[in-house]
């Protein structure tokens, strides 16, 4: 018999004697379950010497020897989903529609701030919502939609925040509500002159199109949009959105979500100046001249990538470096 010590993540210890040549991992787990309350074999994960022990294997397969320690961690209950987004939303969401028209203006204003600014506290749900619409604009298949000032809200959200947001049932419900009720949407738009200016005929048409509304209120679609954003990188997504907006007059209405992502660099070129909220801002190469120099000094020699990274991070060099290093396609 071999003595093993089971060390639990909560500091409990169990001493067991087993025959490593006949005892499977599952049998060991059953033994542990007998010693510990609330720890059925199914919720145990055993780790020995850098390996996760598989239920069907014999302990001897892992060279467990006398006096050795096996670590046990419980596969705990599911972690609370999307804690950040949920916390941000829960405050104002009790009456998601009643205040919508009145609140649309500040939300749009907040969303129209330059990319990478985060929405002010207290207004997170609506700003997120506009970011969400921008996300759809970013798909490129819906010309005009991307022209909404709300598009800019997207820049403030990292892909994972987007994903979190889209997977938040509260947001889904809210989006559904808005898109399933054209009146709410229209009153939101009508109450905001900035939005009205932005509203192209195509966009009005789109908002009246039940197919689009159905698609937009479909959580799967939202997730797909979010997924594409994270795949393409936030920068490319934002660029794609504004690119689509700029081209809305000429772009064929064909639904082609991928086209906009094929060439992030090109869309990046479309970024400065095309967004109404940023009309007064100089192009990124001027705005970020200092930071670009810094990046060059650090050895990041590709100006297009550098500008993209700085645009995404709003000129934060450190974040830009992280972005450059972590972007898979660079």
């Amino acid at each position: 018999m071999t003595k093993v010590l089971i060390k639990c993540s909560n500091d409990k210890r169990v001493n067991l004697e087993v025959d490593v040549d006949t005892t499977t991992v599952l049998q060991l787990k059953d033994q542990i379950a007998g010693e510990l309350e609330d720890t059925p074999a199914g919720s145990q994960r055993l780790i020995y010497a850098g390996r996760i022990l598989k239920d069907g294997d014999l302990l001897s397969a892992y060279q467990v020897k006398d006096g050795n320690t096996i670590h046990m961690v419980k596969s705990g209950s599911k972690k609370p989903a999307a804690p950040r987004a949920a916390a941000a939303i829960s405050d104002d969401s009790a009456a998601p529609t009643s205040g919508t028209a009145a609140a649309a203006q500040p939300a749009a204003a907040a969303a129209a701030q330059p990319a990478a600014s985060t929405a002010p506290a207290g207004m997170p749900d609506l700003a997120s919502m506009f970011g969400g619409m921008g996300g759809m604009g970013g798909m490129g298949g819906m010309p005009g939609m991307a022209g909404m000032p709300g598009m800019d809200g997207l820049g403030g959200m990292s892909p994972e925040q987007m994903e979190q947001m889209y997977s938040n049932p509260m947001v889904q419900q809210m989006m559904e509500q808005i898109f399933s009720n054209p009146e709410v949407l229209r009153s939101m738009i009508d109450s905001n002159p900035m939005l009205q200016q932005q509203l192209t005929p195509q966009m009005r048409e789109m908002l009246n199109n039940p197919d689009f509304l159905r698609m937009a209120s479909n959580p799967e679609f939202m997730r797909a949009a979010a997924q594409m954003h994270s795949d393409a990188g936030a920068g490319a997504g934002a660029g794609a959105g504004s690119g689509a907006g700029a081209n809305s007059g000429s772009q064929p209405p064909a639904f082609n979500p991928f086209a906009a992502f094929m060439n992030p660099g090109q869309q990046l070129g479309a970024l400065p100046g095309t967004q109404s909220g940023q009309a007064n801002q100089s192009p990124p190469e001027e705005r970020f001249r200092e930071q670009l120099q810094q990046l060059r000094d650090m050895g990041f020699v590709n100006p297009v990538q550098n500008i993209r990274a700085l645009s995404v991070t709003d000129g934060n060099v450190q974040a830009a470096v992280e972005f450059l290093l972590s972007s898979p396609d660079l």
């Binding site: 780790i47 020995y48 850098g50 996760i52 096996i70 670590h71 972690k79 992280e322 290093l325």
Partner: protein, 159 residues
């Protein structure tokens, strides 16, 4: 050595680390052991590690498996490390799972660092900055973890 630093004998040190990991010292949040699936165990080059994802992160409650390669000059030269379990982290190459040599613990590696130091630092990295909240791939999915045939691998491409 010319600069006055001393050279830690590799095998002596690795045997010491092996003994420690089998005894199970440590908290179980990080664990490592010799990879006995490779043919040559005497060299103690290939190791396996696990990291239990830190709390309050998207990694929480996952157990990540890693491979570690200790070259002939370990511990005077940093080991190489790659994730077997899929993970999304700034310092991890998204196709292969290889951890960038540029992270702090590898870049400024010191001979008194151990494999446990490495794993703990990687775990800290998971809880740092953006890595904390990056959405993670499906739990249980893996990077291609093949090790090259013995005659094709070298210190720079140990996998």
């Amino acid at each position: 050595m010319a600069d006055g630093s001393y050279v830690v004998p590799r095998n002596f040190r690795l045997l010491e680390e092996l003994e420690k990991c089998e005894k199970g010292t440590g908290d179980g949040l990080c664990s490592y052991g010799l990879d006995d699936s490779v043919e040559d165990l005497v060299e103690m080059e290939y190791w396996l590690g696990t990291i239990f994802g830190p709390e309050h992160t998207t990694h929480y409650n996952r157990i990540y498996s890693l491979r570690i390669y200790c070259g002939p000059n370990y511990p005077n030269v940093a080991p190489k490390v790659k994730f077997v379990s899929k993970v999304a982290m700034g310092c991890v190459e998204p196709q292969t799972g290889v951890v960038s040599d540029d992270i702090n613990v590898l870049r400024s590696w010191k001979p008194n660092y151990t494999l446990m130091t490495l794993l703990k630092e990687l775990r800290a990295e998971m809880a740092a900055g953006n890595n904390r909240k990056v959405e993670q791939p499906l739990e249980g999915s893996v990077f291609l973890a093949d090790i090259l045939p013995a005659d094709q691998r070298n210190e720079n491409a140990p996998w």
